[in-house]
Symmetry: C2
């Protein structure tokens, strides 16, 4: 027998669908909302509804956007002639928040992984190829993650761009800023050494 | 400038009102719901709405309950003649889930703390006194937390019960099961030693 009433049980179950939330945290969140922040619960319910009804995938960048306010397709961004390819929306947000880059983006929504059935179509690479072919892109910046699949995806996309005479660059990988050589893993250090640059 | 569109920004802000959720987790949750679990987002919005409209505080136990389904006020629970006082709804749920106790409860919703302006009225102690006076309670079990304020609250409630000739008990405090004496704090160990029982 559980001590939860039906609606409380359902609220806890619903909160558990959030990533990183287990049964204890979900119970704590539900009781907190009911006990101390009913207004917050209303706000959250409303924000979820608004997000579901108003946020779509942009057909061009494949980022989440609101039709009336897509900040990533603007003419000023297109003018730069640069297109940055990332795996996920969170990667786009990280780049936008930490770098001065203000060109266009393309969100793959994953990486090539034939074993999981994720091929070029699932990542919208036909759409990317079209954009590379229309002559507006001078530089394609590949910012996929430096994992095995991310590297394979980067290689595949680089071939797409070269076939259309677009310059391709890849963000640098090496020792992270503030890191200490002693504690950096061997693969990263070897990569950083091989990729040394003239000062 | 932030990379969030207005609705995405509001969803992240709303998720941050959940306890233990910072800006990074809130962003992760929002993107997860939009990207991989729109159904879960709908379910959560619905569950929040249902909880807000259907969950009330029981006027008798002060626990969250649904008028059509209050599991804590039933006649069978009243028959036991026992009333357990806890600080918070989460404490009630913990007792209900881990112990065979199936008597009645009273949820204070806090503890006496004059400095924060929390007096007997805020904890509903007048309501508790009424229930103690109506002759249905043979034993009052005090399960407030063993903190300074929790102990003070327990003391105050014990006086209330004694004045109405109701037997008062307090849940045992001592070395936790599976704990090792070596690592238990001094206060707990001293309490456990003083409270030794005949085998």
């Amino acid at each position: 027998m559980t001590a939860y009433s039906p609606r409380l049980g359902r609220l806890i179950e619903a909160l558990r669908r959030l990533p990183g939330v287990g049964p204890k945290s979900a119970q704590r969140m539900a009781l907190h909302l009911l006990q101390r922040d009913r207004e917050g619960a209303e706000y959250l319910a409303r924000a979820l509804g608004e997000a579901l009804s108003g946020i779509e995938r942009c057909p061009r960048t494949r980022m989440f956007c609101e039709p009336a306010h897509c900040g990533f397709c603007s003419a000023s961004r297109a003018k730069a002639g640069q297109l940055c390819v990332v795996e996920n929306p969170a990667d786009l947000i990280a780049i936008e928040n930490s770098t001065p880059y203000r060109g266009r983006y393309f969100v793959l929504g994953g990486r090539l992984s034939p074993l999981d059935g994720i091929g070029p179509e699932a990542l919208g690479l036909d759409l990317l190829a079209e954009q590379l072919a229309d002559g507006t892109v001078q530089e394609l910046i590949i910012a996929t993650n430096p994992t095995v699949e991310g590297e394979a995806t980067a290689h595949y996309i680089a071939e797409l761009a070269r076939a259309r005479n677009v310059k391709v660059t890849r963000i640098a990988h090496g020792v992270p800023m503030g890191g200490e050589l002693e504690y950096v893993d061997g693969g990263t250090l070897s990569h950083a050494f091989a990729g040394r640059q003239l000062l």
